[in-house]
Point group: C2
Chain length 144, copies 2
Amino acid sequence: MESFERIFREHGLPLTVQRRVILDSMLDRTDHPSAERVYSEVQAKIPGISRASVYRILDLFVELGLIQKINPPGMAARFDPTVRRHTHLVCRSCGRMVDMDAPGIGVLPLPDGRAYGFQIDDYQINFSGLCADCAKKHTQQPDK
Amino acid sequence: MESFERIFREHGLPLTVQRRVILDSMLDRTDHPSAERVYSEVQAKIPGISRASVYRILDLFVELGLIQKINPPGMAARFDPTVRRHTHLVCRSCGRMVDMDAPGIGVLPLPDGRAYGFQIDDYQINFSGLCADCAKKHTQQPDK
DNA sequence: CTCCGTGCAAAAGGTTTGCACTGGT
DNA sequence: ACCAGTGCAAACCTTTTGCACGGAG
């Protein structure tokens, strides 16, 4: 929780205000914000911050293993403070993304990729469909 | 195979040279080209073709169910003539993508999303790792 | 002949980069 | 004081869009 200062020291990385604030705003959130959304939220706390810094800092956190980057099909990348592998539900219509923490769901053995010339070491499962709001809209107005 | 002319007629869609050539270049291929790659390949056969047409035509084929669009994490979309759901192996280093047709791999029941307010109707599994070439490079030069 | 499809160029959206300055350590 | 981190703007990559022309039906 607060040992992130140690993590930075161990890597010889300066702990700047920008990094503190962005890390703060990422932890303990259950949504999956895009870089743009993090940017606009953080602007309230650090008015002069640049979009580039947000991107750089989020990518740094990913490299440090502090957060996870998710690339939903056809939309901006999202960032997730939950680092362990887990499954996401994505709304095809509005892009809303929620964690799916059902036991047994989304747990696969890593297959042997040698027949394909691959060393497989990770996987990602994304379920897609419609969230409640979008399902409602679609049934009300099936056209368009 | 050749009934695609019928498919177009049924939809009242003109069958243009561009569509013929792009469909031709897509069928029977086992790689997973990006729109840009299709564009440069097709330029050899139709010198004046525009990038926009390639994008429009590929998307049309996806709507017609003739091909599939794949969105690998963090890179340009790929197109796949194999329409049925199947699993992909993606090289994290070079982006190479191969089909993984092992029986039983990548077949999941659709979970009940109601607890999350979702109607789940599809999913995608991507295994990731290193292809043989990139694995070789990494072991030879672990740094950088 | 009538439209739809196309080519072109520009815009849009998301992300990265080069460079000078600033702020941690 | 040093050097990495930052802000800014421009570049970049992928994809979409507006519009006028041209070819398929």
